[in-house]
């Protein structure tokens, strides 16, 4: 369960009501007409869970129990969501197979990853929506060479591909009889974690992806039944205050939510940073913080710096861990003895509460998402919550939430650099 609360004022005026209704109608239309596919993923991906389990049973390699490591080769939307779920859930329970991530074109990063893996125990999952992501294809080729994987032999069982139907990578997989799973064409990369992109590696690693999807499904259902209207109101507040609060901070009080905040940064930044129909540069800047650590880093700026930020706290009510601060008093350092005998669970949540109060007192717009426990269902709901919020903001800004035209320029410059080199 997620519990939502807020410490900013919002009373729905007639014009705000219209903003909200229009945005809700826009999402409903995207959903019904199938222009945007992520709304359907919690239901449609249930089949993928079953497909993966069937594939696992039928594959000689996977059913043999030899595979202890899943290496994901993907970047951006093809890795961030998987990492978010993996690191959050693995803080509570050990996955049956360990996930590794080849993301960056950094040679040291790739070399260290390669050194940690062995061919016989690794399944490589190559993920690219378009099929031609330069980091992904380059690392894939490096993996083939490093591990001497002969794609024309049974060794191709060590590869699984996740891509759009009809993409170049999909055609490649077909030719080499490599197992592939597909991403619906109407689901963008950064909205794809509940598609095959996330469901396949997370199921292979042993996570309860049925609960992940069901948690998300229950939430999206309630949203379209208008039973989660706080999201509509929050979106309207953020839209109307976009000039006043151009920066939105997600402050998560749990070390292992770090990757969720990185996933949120991509979702928010890439979806909302756009040139609108009036040729204005719009968008909201996302920042992810981790409590209590960033109380010792960013908090001073939130309290005394420019009042240009809204803050969303995420806390976990029950970590299901009873580690206590021992009732020891050490001479000279008795000043912090007042928390002796309390659990760290109590301490971190009290820190979250205290920071929140100090921000509210300083006039910062604050809201809170409290998660009762760490489990797949809650993270599924959290994912769809941020996706819906992003879509609502995009509808209010009247931009295309789902494209990313700004990144093409850099890709073209890169191509030209090498093209010139090759010609000379």
């Amino acid at each position: 369960m997620l519990h939502f609360s807020r410490d900013f004022d919002f009373e729905e005026t007639a014009s705000q009501k219209k903003t909200i209704e229009d945005a809700f109608a826009a999402l409903l239309k995207e959903h019904k007409e199938g222009f945007v596919g992520y709304y359907d993923l919690p239901k449609n991906s249930l089949d993928i869970v079953h497909d993966v389990k069937k594939f696992t049973q039928e594959s000689e390699l996977l059913s043999s129990d030899l595979i202890s490591d899943i290496a994901v080769i993907g970047i951006g939307g093809s890795s961030l969501g998987i990492k978010a779920v993996d690191s959050f859930i693995s803080s509570k329970k050990t996955a049956s197979r360990k996930l590794h991530f080849f993301e960056n074109s950094d040679p040291l990063d790739i070399s260290q990853n390669l050194a940690q893996l062995e061919k016989k125990s690794t399944l490589f999952v190559v993920i690219s929506k378009s099929g031609s992501t330069i980091e992904t294809t380059s690392i894939f080729k490096t993996v083939l060479e490093h591990f001497h994987i002969d794609l024309k032999s049974a060794q191709s069982e060590h590869i699984v591909v996740i891509t759009d139907k009809g993409s170049s990578l999909s055609e490649f997989a077909k030719d080499y009889k490599i197992k592939q799973f597909n991403i619906p064409n109407n689901v963008g990369g950064r909205f794809s974690v509940l598609s095959a992109v996330g469901v396949v590696p997370l199921t292979l690693a042993g996570y309860d992806t049925l609960s992940l999807l069901k948690g998300a499904d229950a939430f999206v259902e309630r949203f379209f039944q208008k039973k989660e209207n706080h999201i509509l109101q929050k979106a309207c507040f953020m839209y109307e205050h976009a000039k006043e609060y151009p920066i939105n901070v997600v402050f998560s009080y749990a070390t292992y939510l770090q990757n969720l905040t990185k996933w949120y940064v991509q979702l928010w930044g890439e979806s909302l940073g756009k040139i609108d129909m009036n040729n204005h540069h719009v968008g909201l800047t996302p920042i992810g913080l981790i409590g209590a650590v960033d109380q010792h880093s960013f908090l001073q700026l939130l309290i005394e710096g420019p009042k240009d930020k809204s803050v969303t706290f995420i806390c976990i009510e029950d970590f299901e861990n009873d580690l206590q601060i021992p009732d020891i008093s050490l001479k000279h350092i008795e000043k912090t003895d007042f928390i002796n005998g309390s659990s760290f669970n109590t301490l971190i949540n009290a820190q979250c509460e205290a920071t929140k109060e100090s921000l509210v007192n300083s006039g910062v717009a604050v809201d809170t998402i409290a998660m009762d426990k760490i489990n797949e269902s809650n993270i599924g709901a959290m994912i769809i919550y941020f996706e819906l919020l992003t879509s609502l903001l995009g509808a209010m800004f009247k931009i295309n939430t789902y494209d990313q035209p700004g990144v093409e320029l850099g890709k073209n410059i890169l191509y030209e650099k090498f093209h010139k080199t090759k010609d000379n």
Copy 2:
């Protein structure tokens, strides 16, 4: 060696010249009068390196080679800088002892850290400038209990303390005859990485801290000899454009610079986010990105979103790693074959260059710090560079760069919460 370049216009007008001279004079005064101590650390900490080596030889425990793990218990300025150096240098060479970090009050984080360590092979380094940081003292007590460390026995050899002379933690260490190193009183937590805070654990881990300090020393010397005036000009540009570019992005093209960007975020945010003498909320918001990964995340917002950000690129000219993209052409995915045969070193730097050009073309103010190689000397220079830049900005904003009054409110609220609980 660091090479600095910039793609924004700056011609020093008379008034800018004055701004620069005043700020330089302010730093010179802080330095000469000893009000701010970090300028002297590169020289003064040389002795600490020798002290640590002497301590290692004299300590029965450390000289016995039993200690393979150094567990740092500290948060904020007492961990970020150590992590920055450790993760960056460890991408190139293996430290002789492994560093672990107990930072957060998250019970799962602490439990996982405890499970990875054994008493007999671990040295615990407890770091707190004030001596009464609640996360640090609470985790320290937990470690004592978990590992059954009897402070009145020879087991106290497993503890080292780093704190201000005269702090409660220092008094505690004295009483129990625990080895302590001190932080100069005129060095703030977030400026302390080149003091005992960083030098002790990094030396114990086996890093070349003499080079770290010498790299920093050479840079600070040149700065005060007015041989690094690009910093003065950059500070002036950022100060004058603070309203236009309230957000400053550091975009590092290397996976293992992630922790350096976190260190920078603390330094920048906590130093510059202040209420100035006219009661205005001033400050600049820091954001850390990693290339090429964040090209698939934040770049769209930089290109098409609000033009409220300046961007500093950091790149590494020579990773000293020749991993190549194999000259393999895979049917259907030939589109990225144009980089076949190139090294990843070439690819990631070409990506950095291409992204930079695309930002410059979009009218973003950009500058670049190129590091020739990954080594301690370069990271030392980088640390002092960002510290000097921060001090200059603080002088221009006419704020106290070195305090953090805004975080006290939350601490008081926390105390009251528990005080009430205890009384009831």
